[in-house]
Symmetry: C2
DNA sequence: TGTACATCAGTGAACGCGCGTTCACTGATGTAC
DNA sequence: TGTACATCAGTGAACGCGCGTTCACTGATGTAC
């Protein structure tokens, strides 16, 4: 029922009904702290101080710290799915460039939303934390799979790799590069290539290996 | 100077000089806690209780919690380098199977040493934490690079990819699969392939793309 | 339109707890003579 | 071999602090009539 109430029309503005949109404000404050100190770097109490409410206030919205974290991760996967989907553009103008754009969108998300990324992948939330989180994760992965299926469609039947396997590979390559080299925070390693170039090359070589290279596809 | 003192000959045994090998014991206790609760899941105080010493004892060995964590990560990279090196076997009996073994060793390490793996990659230690840590990381990566160089050597000059780029790709692929699907703790995702099979296939397709496939190499 | 009431978001004080860190100390060990 | 001394790993008590969580409460809002 919580979700059925309309939010404030002006983003960030108060509506005058007590705090207005406390749960939203708590999420934003937690994101700021995660961006600065990592997913373990904030406390429930610290978040209430940042928002300017009493330490008991969040209990009206979240059972505990983990529930807040899970909600942040869920929102993160929703935004992530939207970003990947926007890059994919239903495979327009052509599957290959659209596919590359999805990979770049993965890195762009990790860099521009390090707090969401950390909540999604580094918060060590148990897999059964919430249905909403699992479903949001699934929706994001579905975009990758969709892009892989469209690319595979260009191959003759006998040379088609399993779409699930290919999408897991793509996820792993993008995630590996994002996790090791592409995070927005200071943990970046010193390598003489941008994560973007590194991933682009990795994808091209992989696609070549599948027979989907520029020449062969 | 701390390191010049000989450790106990019997592993885990006390030597009778006060605790004996407290810093070792602190590291082991911290590893147990990290394995259970993640890299943020232990406190200095908790570690002293597990070992059975006073809360002030660790200060003789580690400046603070972060210094202990950095030492654990450094030890982890040393063990990791040793594991990769043992799998590589100087490229014997042949570069390709030895190379595959390195990838499998990456996954085996992530699974069998989740606490070290978490300290190495998920503890968010600042990159300038310690020289020893940076050097140990470099030594582990050097094994990957060495394996890539040996494989590349089988290609004609004009078709050789840059060894650094290739080793970063290999690192990213192995790390992506380990991080998403191959950790020893409960965070595993439900996919219908083992991480080992997934990585093996990913590497083969990538090597095919480089012209290093079974047929072409 | 006006009033009485139900709802429930947020208050603020309180609690017990574990934390990191300090300090002067103790006592086992190693060694100089 | 024996003694006196220096070293330093570990003690244990103490501190102030921020934490999560509870509770009866208050007061703004929405609504029934």
């Amino acid at each position: 029922m919580r979700k059925s109430k309309p939010g404030p029309d002006e983003p960030g503005g108060r509506r005058g009904y007590h705090h207005g949109n406390l749960s939203e404000a708590l999420v934003q404050a937690a994101l700021d702290l995660i961006a600065k100190y990592g997913p373990a770097g904030f406390s429930f109490a610290e978040v209430t101080r940042a928002v300017g409410v009493s330490p008991a206030a969040p209990y009206r919205h979240f059972r505990d710290r983990d529930a807040l974290m899970a909600d942040i991760a869920r929102r993160g996967f929703d935004k992530f799915a939207a970003a990947l989907s926007a890059a994919w553009q239903d495979g327009q103008p052509a599957p290959l460039p659209a596919f590359k754009a999805v990979g770049q969108a993965y890195l762009a998300f990790a860099r521009s939303e390090p707090a969401y990324f950390a909540a999604m992948f580094e918060a060590r939330l148990p897999p059964d934390t919430s249905r909403e989180l699992a479903q949001a994760t699934e929706r994001a992965f579905a975009i990758l799979r969709q892009a892989c299926e469209a690319l595979i469609a260009g191959l003759p039947d006998s040379k088609r790799p399993p779409a699930l396997m290919m999408s897991l590979h793509v996820w792993a390559m993008a995630h590996g590069i994002a996790a090791l080299f592409g995070r927005g925070d200071g943990a970046r390693r010193n390598v003489p290539m941008t994560p973007e170039d590194l991933l682009e090359a990795n994808m091209l070589i992989y696609l070549d290996g599948l027979g989907l290279g520029d020449g062969g596809g």
